[in-house]
């Protein structure tokens, strides 16, 4: 009976120990590396499947996802080698793949492991690690990276769990905090202000004065928010036409001299010229407002010196924002975002802990159960063996003996073992390290190794005797 019970299965044990949830992250981002290094390590989307396959071929990692954006290159893996070797393997892969000397890359790399790696992935997905905290693109980029890795078959259950959680956390952060709610670029702030005046922008007309890059960026933001009609006024009509053509052909080019006659058709004006005189004067705006029956007119002046006369602001139903005003809004919004980011960090921290606890449970759970069973067997067997020496016992005494003494011994013995396992899981070290938790070769571990050697019966006896006699 004893022998039969001892063959109770333990979870698959690798050469080096139990298979624990261990994640390793090696990467660079905009804070650690200059763009010159980042661009050399960047992966093209088309090249990613091959790169992922190549990373796995070495056998040093069992799962991998590569996130490559303009601000970061991060390789997230589940290592199958001890940490140091796995880090080395990933670094070598990065350098070899991009044909960059390792010495040029190493100083910029950061390595996160286990819970630190999990936290990092959650933070990145929640846009807490972004250059512009709270920007929403990063989540899409990570989802894409994950999808590519999944398609390339380099994602297993560990990274699957991790990324699914990262997406959920990012969503939670976005809904529970206002981290993405405050615009922090000139274009998006302008759009935000426009929404304070106009309910929706779909039927509104945008007038750009000047056809430079600033105007184009602003126009892009407004088009993303639904604006469909565009005028571009510029000194050089060809440039105006060129910019107007960029937007669904919905744009019309104007000469600057046409402004007074057309201003009333615009609802939002974005001016960014290099002019030294005011192109928009109070008289023009007053006439325009009169012609548009005092429907509000919103004017943004992104140029220095200004294109729109400051006096325009005193007119009723005309709202003027110059560069300083917009910068002030941005600064305020950034403060707001930082405040929200703190709340988001708290969410990420809690989610990291929850994730790790769950991972521990998933990973060491079967081991713990099997160990408990084995310890119970040992205790029961020893009790049976020495039962006679105790002399006659009442049924109550016997039951108490079994229930309290044996169970107590099992639980007390198991407790440090569980702690040790959990610690090992966290640090990604091997199960053999658990011997330290007992300060001597414990029964459980003896038998554990014994099972591997398929020599249960021969090892069992002396070990038991050493512990109990």
């Amino acid at each position: 009976m004893r022998l039969g019970k001892f063959t109770s299965p333990l979870p698959p044990v690798s050469q080096t120990g139990v298979q624990l949830m261990n994640v390793l992250l090696v990467g660079i981002n905009h804070t650690t590396a200059p763009v010159g290094v980042r661009e050399r390590l960047a992966f093209s989307e088309a090249g990613l499947p091959v790169a992922l396959q190549r990373l796995l071929v070495g056998g040093s990692v069992s799962e991998a996802v590569i996130v490559s954006t303009c601000n970061r290159v991060e390789v997230i893996v589940v290592p199958s080698l001890p940490t140091a070797e796995a880090v080395e393997a990933v670094t070598t892969f990065l350098c070899d793949y991009h044909d960059v000397p390792a010495g040029q890359v190493r100083p910029y790399l950061y390595v996160h492991q286990s819970s630190a790696a999990v936290r990092h992935v959650l933070r990145v997905a929640a846009s807490l690690d972004s250059m512009i905290v709270g920007e929403s693109q990063i989540l899409g980029q990570i989802k894409r990276a994950y999808a590519l890795a999944a398609a390339a078959n380099t994602v297993g259950r560990h990274l699957h769990r991790l990324f699914e959680r990262a997406f959920a956390v990012a969503k939670r952060v976005r809904t529970e905090t206002g981290i993405g709610a405050h615009a922090v670029s000139l274009g998006s702030v302008s759009v935000e202000l426009a929404h304070k005046v106009f309910d929706h922008l779909t039927d509104k007309v945008l007038l750009l004065i000047g056809a430079g890059e600033m105007a184009e960026l602003a126009a892009k933001c407004f088009f993303e928010s639904g604006v469909t009609s565009l005028f571009v006024a510029n000194r050089t009509l060809a440039h105006a036409q060129h910019l107007a053509d960029c937007f669904h052909g919905g744009g019309r080019a104007l000469g600057l001299d046409e402004l007074p006659a057309r201003l009333h058709e615009a609802d939002v004006v974005v001016a960014s010229t290099g002019a030294t005189t005011y192109h928009i004067t109070p008289a023009m705006v007053r006439a325009a407002l009169d012609r548009r029956r005092y429907r509000p007119l919103l004017l943004f002046d992104l140029s220095v010196p200004r294109t729109i006369a400051p006096d325009v602001a005193v007119l009723d139903n005309a709202f003027v924002f110059d560069l300083d005003d917009l910068q002030r809004v941005i600064a305020a919004n950034q403060r707001e975002r930082r405040r929200e980011a703190e709340r988001a960090e708290a969410i990420v921290e809690a989610e990291t802990v929850a994730f790790m606890t769950e991972a521990d449970r998933l990973d060491i759970g079967p081991t713990v159960a099997a160990l408990r069973e084995r310890l119970t067997d040992i205790c029961a067997a020893e009790f049976e063996r020495h039962r006679k020496r105790l002399g006659p016992l009442t049924p109550e005494q016997e039951a108490a003996m079994r229930q309290f003494l044996l169970e107590g011994i099992v639980n007390k013995t198991l407790h440090p073992l569980i702690l040790g396992l959990r610690e090992a899981a966290r640090q990604g070290s091997e199960l053999v390290d658990l011997r330290r938790a007992f300060a001597l070769d414990s029964v459980a571990l003896k038998t554990d190794t014994a099972r591997d050697n398929d020599a249960v019966s021969t090892h069992e006896e002396p070990a038991n005797q050493r512990l109990y006699r």
Binding site: T175, L193, D199
Partner: protein, 274 residues
């Protein structure tokens, strides 16, 4: 009836409190629907209370001060719920709900009407016409109340945009367009109803005792109210007046409405009711 009204008042109180709290906490409150359902529940109870009261006295319950307050609160709630379904502005709710609550509370606190049979008898044949007159006025006042809320929101928002000082209300205010749209529609509805209300009043009065004008303070107040809103409508239509000036006139107009409402109970005259 008073139990139903109490339920309504309680629902309005919690609804308004919840709306203010959630909107104050965040511009996009997730639990806002609670406020809305409380409001709807309050409205249902309020409606029943008015119907029950009408059933009890077998007439339109609009002959006492208490009944007028109740009816006005109910009308504002109806208008507000409709407007919310249309515009979905949560911050608007946080401002309109307390007003509904206040009128319902006033109705609950005021003494129950004394016997109104004598009044009804006095009106005789013109009772139904004069009831219509009162209903039109109450509906007009409800529209002006909504206009008042929209005007306040407009002025706050416009001031912040002009001065570029973005206070705590900033992210919670509806756009100027929305405020303007709400006030434009409320103005139109209110003005038409007010005009009809005045006309029915004149006709009813003529039938009752052959007099068009009693020199009653309420008549002067209503005329002044009508003139103010007439100005807003006129300038809106002809000069495209909108925005700040129209909003201020809307606020002044509502001040007149409040004075008129108080006047019904206060001034001794043809219009005074118990």
């Amino acid at each position: 009836m008073s139990t139903l009204l109490l339920i309504a008042v309680a629902c309005y109180a919690f609804g308004a409190g919840h709306a203010i709290f959630t909107v104050w906490r965040t511009p996009h409150p997730r639990w806002f629907w609670i406020a809305l359902w409380l409001m709807a529940a309050g409205f249902a109870a309020h409606t029943s209370s008015i119907v029950v009261r009408g059933w009890e006295v077998a007439r339109c319950p609009l002959l006492s001060y208490q009944e007028v307050c109740s009816f006005l609160g109910w009308s504002i709630a109806a208008y507000f719920l409709g407007a919310y379904l249309w515009y979905r502005s949560k911050s608007f709710a946080a401002f309109a709900m307390p007003m509904v609550f206040l009128f319902a509370l006033a109705a609950w606190l005021l003494p129950a009407p004394s016997d109104t049979a004598a009044v009804l008898k006095f009106y005789g044949q013109t009772a139904s016409l004069l009831t219509l007159h009162a209903v039109l006025f109450v509906f007009a006042y409800a529209a002006f109340a909504i206009l008042f809320v929209a005007a306040i929101l407009y002025i706050v928002q416009e001031r912040q945009l002009k001065q570029k000082q973005f206070g705590p209300l900033w992210s919670r205010l509806p756009s100027l367009d929305t405020c303007d749209d709400v006030s434009g529609k409320a103005l139109l509805i209110g003005f038409v109803l007010l005009t009809l209300g005045i006309l029915t009043g004149i006709v009813g009065s003529r039938r009752l005792n052959g007099v068009y004008w009693h020199g009653d303070p309420l008549e002067f107040l209503s005329l002044a109210t009508w003139l103010i809103y007439f100005c807003v409508v006129h300038y809106r239509l002809t000069a495209g007046w909108r925005g700040r000036r129209a909003a201020w006139l809307g606020i002044v107009g509502f001040a007149m409405v409040i004075v008129s409402l108080v006047g019904i109970g206060w001034f001794n005259g043809f219009h005074s009711i118990g």
